[in-house]
């Protein structure tokens, strides 16, 4: 070690301890970190929940509905709510960023962790769709507002306004 470095190490201790003793630097309280950790977990859980719901909604919208459903793919694509997959992508990005904050992220195969998380989200979304929750949610508040209006109209929950090419409901 050079003389300069030796001299520096002597000053270093004094400089730091002076700041500690005078209160110029203070330790952050334990609750600050507990709150941060809780917020991190809540954020991750929130993002996972939103992702499951958004993904499930995409499955629901892509499913063929009613008689002659196979002919309505174009209609589905035309009226598809594209913000849903965009929101899902943003959610995935934020989820990965939050996962990286955890200590295990570099100890495990991180790609595998992300892959596992995405597969779990897709499976959970498919399960919700399969169990018929969409049919219930699209009819009831407060979830109804997330479903497209044409979907609600098809299920008789919303009256479409009369206009050209539209028939009045009897």
């Amino acid at each position: 070690m050079s003389k300069q470095l030796k001299k520096t190490s002597i000053n270093l201790e004094k400089n730091i301890m002076d700041k500690v003793k005078t209160g110029a630097v203070r330790m952050k309280p334990r609750w600050y970190f507990i709150f941060g950790s809780l917020a991190l977990s809540a954020g991750l859980a929130g993002i996972a929940t939103v992702l499951i719901f958004v993904n499930n909604l995409v499955f629901f919208l892509l499913r063929q509905h009613g008689p002659m459903g196979q002919w309505r793919l174009q209609q589905i694509l035309d009226s598809f709510t594209w913000w849903l997959p965009i929101l899902a992508l943003i959610g995935i990005f934020l989820g990965i960023k939050l996962l990286q904050k955890y200590d295990f992220s570099y100890k495990k195969n991180f790609k595998l962790v992300i892959g596992g998380l995405l597969i779990s989200i897709i499976l959970a979304s498919a399960l919700i769709d399969y169990l018929g929750f969409n049919e219930i949610w699209s009819k009831r508040r407060p979830m109804r507002q997330f479903y497209p209006k044409w979907q609600q109209a098809e299920q008789g929950n919303l009256e479409l306004p009369a206009g050209r090419g539209r028939m009045r409901r009897q």
């Binding site: 520096t8 270093l12 730091i16 500690v20 330790m27 570099y106």
Partner: protein, 182 residues
């Protein structure tokens, strides 16, 4: 006096005491690690003044965030991690770092491990070390010059242990090439 009293205490026990009762004990931790950290920061930055700044800043950050340290982990790894981050921030600010995407590809079957055992070779290696890209310099200096295990290096650099091994292997090849050219 303080150092003698606390000589038998582990870093983690001292951290617990600093957090709960005696903040002045933090000086014991500074004494234990300042030289090692200055040396490590100097390997990364190649500038003694900047290395000293980054170590001082790291000790202050460590003190401020001491309550976030989990005593089940190794304090030294946690501290090295903070110094590492500080040093990299300084490197980026000063733009003195070498390009990290500069990967030298060449074949070699020789192992440098045996060579690096002698002090003379370590001295020579340090000189060559400053010339290799930062991503290889970090694990190599921690492993050979700071005597850290793969597990500790993994904790410091936040890399899987397998990646630590790969980088050290590649770093040795690059180092050999550079040392041979010098």
């Amino acid at each position: 006096m303080l150092a003698i009293k606390t000589a038998h205490l582990s870093d983690e026990t001292i951290v617990e005491l600093v957090r709960k009762s005696d903040q002045e004990l933090y000086s014991v931790l500074i004494k234990r690690y300042q030289k090692k950290l200055l040396r490590y920061a100097n390997y990364l930055i190649n500038d003694e003044d900047l290395a000293a700044d980054s170590v001082e800043e790291a000790f202050i950050k460590a003190f401020i965030n001491l309550n976030s340290f989990k005593t089940s982990m190794k304090f030294s790894s946690w501290l090295y991690r903070i110094v590492h981050n500080q040093a990299l921030n300084l490197v980026q600010k000063n733009k003195r770092h070498q390009s990290t995407d500069q990967i030298l590809e060449f074949a070699s079957s020789l192992d440098l491990e045996a060579e690096m055992i002698s002090k003379e070779e370590i001295k020579r290696a340090k000189k060559c070390l400053s010339q290799i890209p930062l991503i290889y310099r970090e694990p190599l200096s921690l492993f050979y010059l700071e005597d850290k295990s793969y597990e500790e290096i993994s904790d410091i650099l936040r890399l899987p242990t397998s990646s630590v091994g790969t980088r050290i292997r590649r770093a040795k090849l690059i180092l050999k090439k550079i040392c041979q050219n010098n």
